[in-house]
């Protein structure tokens, strides 16, 4: 297959995916240009995290394809997939640190697995990455001794340990206090620019996200409902975007889960 070196490092093309007959994504198209920080936003359960797994090749799409650096992800062999994943780093929702390893060993893990560097060099790399997230002093701690924000930062150091071209963030702000949130925001932006990488941030924190990303995709009901730069979206008059950006309880996304008529349900059993 001919490889086209495009400006977009990740391209999602007409992608559909679902479990057991229920489609989660219905023909999604997205592009992620090199060097940018792009957010995928949407309500809970709209399949944002699943999109990251599709990019990482942990799931296979039903229809359509995901291309990473020109390679179709789901057509790779195991080795090809692993080679592709060398280009990616992923920050999981709660960090997913290895609980039986110390902070230092967690960050050293990908380096040890994929290189044969001597211990002194591994140490230099690990300390460099930990310093970048401000946790060099915590290298001896175990993951259970870290706060949520610190664990997230260690996981970030681990995700970028091998200088990936694509960094994916799965809900990086979930459960963080405002200070930690600000720290993580700055880290995402600065790491992206320092590494010359492309970042994909899956989140639903509108205000934090709009402050530092370059481009935003809104996903709802399995399709991309809106896209644009943060400024464009803030001024958007699309009802969904308006509701989401301003956090209104009811709107095109209803407050109620689809249900039978309330009045009729209440009267059930009383009807004569």
């Amino acid at each position: 297959m001919q490889k086209i070196m495009s400006d977009n490092i990740v391209e999602i093309d007409n992608l559909s995916f679902g479990y057991k007959g229920r489609l989660l994504h219905k023909g999604i198209n997205m592009v992620f240009p090199r060097g940018k920080v792009v957010a995928i936003m949407g309500g809970s359960g709209s399949g944002k995290t699943t999109l990251l797994r599709l990019i990482g090749g942990q799931l296979k799409p039903n229809v359509g394809e995901v291309r990473v650096d020109g390679d179709v992800v789901h057509k790779q062999s195991i080795d090809g997939l692993y080679n592709l994943r060398h280009k990616m780093g992923m920050l999981f929702q709660f960090g997913a640190l290895f609980t039986d390893l110390s902070v230092y060993e967690n960050v050293a893990f990908p380096i040890r697995e994929h290189t044969d560097l001597p211990e002194s060099m591994v140490r230099d790399f690990v300390m460099l990455k930990l310093n970048a997230v401000g946790l060099r002093g915590a290298h001896n701690l175990m993951p259970t001794e870290l706060s949520g924000g610190m664990a997230r930062r260690v996981a970030l150091a681990r995700a970028v340990a091998l200088d990936p071209q694509i960094i994916m963030y799965d809900e990086p702000f979930a459960g963080l206090d405002p200070i930690s949130m600000g720290v993580v925001c700055n880290l995402i932006r600065s790491l992206n620019d320092a590494l010359g990488a492309t970042s994909i941030v899956v989140t639903h924190d509108v205000h934090e996200t709009f402050s530092f990303v370059d481009y935003v995709y809104f996903v709802s009901d399995g399709v991309v409902v809106a896209e644009g730069t943060p400024d464009q979206l803030r001024n958007s008059d699309k009802p969904f975007v308006h509701q989401f950006v301003h956090g209104e309880a009811d709107g095109p996304v209803p407050f109620h889960y689809p249900a039978a008529d309330y009045k009729r349900e209440m009267l059930r059993g009383h009807d004569v």
């Binding site: 797994r53 990482g56 942990q58 997939l81 692993y82 080679n83 994943r85 060398h86 990616m88 780093g89 992923m90 999981f92 929702q93 709660f94 997913a96 640190l97 290895f98 609980t99 893990f109 990908p110 697995e113 994929h114 996981a155 681990r158």
Partner: protein, 263 residues
């Protein structure tokens, strides 16, 4: 009535499909472990760590149980044998029952309870906290890095534990028979040595414990790997590890014994 019957058949069919699916998934995991055979022995450090977790930490329960089982065998054996005036044969009774059956079987049952549950819970939680996914995304196969070392550690630990169980059990029997009951020490050992055959009894016992090691570890690993990533899922998987391992060990013990005695 008809509806109830339909329900029964639906349930049965569901269980059968589920069972076949699980056997297939287990076989696939097993073949992956085989696939990473050389890879895991290239990094013995990982296996050593797991031998510590499965083998060394099970040592205490195995040794204490073995001593008590041996003492009980000594008492019960003496009680029966003295009626026939052959209480010196107590050594034979203790040694044969331990080496042939109780050593491998009781060790495997205790192993399933002590180490098997730990393996299942650990892997289930690693899965629930996305550690296995994270590993995959770092282009590291969880089967090679997490599953295979634990498998080999279990397979190596089990025969060692079973041999220790038999040895300590014999000492427990000796402790009851010789100092407490007063059987002649020489008769105890010599009768034992005359009747316990190296090939037919000891080697067969070791073969049994290796088979049990493979089965128990495999069940524990599979249940953990297959567990739904929730608290309830992990707890149910842990229970299943104990139940399935115990049933598998007892069933296999019968089959192996039949083959060994028949051969």
């Amino acid at each position: 009535m008809f509806k109830g019957l339909q329900c029964v058949f639906t349930g049965l069919g569901h269980r059968v499909i589920e069972g076949v699916w699980r056997i297939g998934a287990g076989a696939r995991l097993f073949s992956y472990i085989g696939f990473y055979l050389f890879e895991s022995f290239k990094r013995p450090r990982l296996i050593v760590r797991e031998i510590f977790a499965t083998g060394v930490l099970s040592l205490l329960i195995i040794l204490v149980s073995a001593f008590f089982v041996g003492m009980v065998l000594g008492l019960q054996g003496y009680n029966t044998l003295q009626k026939y005036g052959s209480s010196e044969a107590i050594g034979v009774l203790v040694a044969l029952s331990l080496v042939r059956e109780l050593g491998p079987v009781v060790t495997a049952l205790l192993f399933a309870g002590r180490a098997g549950t730990a393996i299942t819970a650990e892997i289930g939680l690693m899965k629930a906290t996305e550690q296995l996914s994270a590993m995959e995304m770092m282009a590291v196969s969880p089967v090679a890095r997490v599953i295979a070392p634990r498998f080999w550690a279990g397979v190596i630990s089990m025969p060692i534990l079973a041999a220790l169980f038999s040895m300590v059990g014999v000492l427990g029997g000796y402790f009851v028979a010789v100092p407490i009951i007063g059987v002649d020490s020489g008769a105890f050992w010599s009768q034992m040595q005359a009747s316990v055959d190296f090939r037919d009894d000891i080697v067969n016992g070791v073969i049994k414990s290796v088979v049990f090691g493979v089965v128990c570890t495999m069940i524990a690993l599979f249940e953990g790997y297959d567990a739904p990533p929730t608290a309830e899922g992990v707890s149910r998987a842990t229970t299943r590890t104990v139940v399935n391992s115990s049933l598998a060990v007892l069933g296999l013990d019968f089959i192996l014994t039949a083959f060994m005695i028949g051969a």
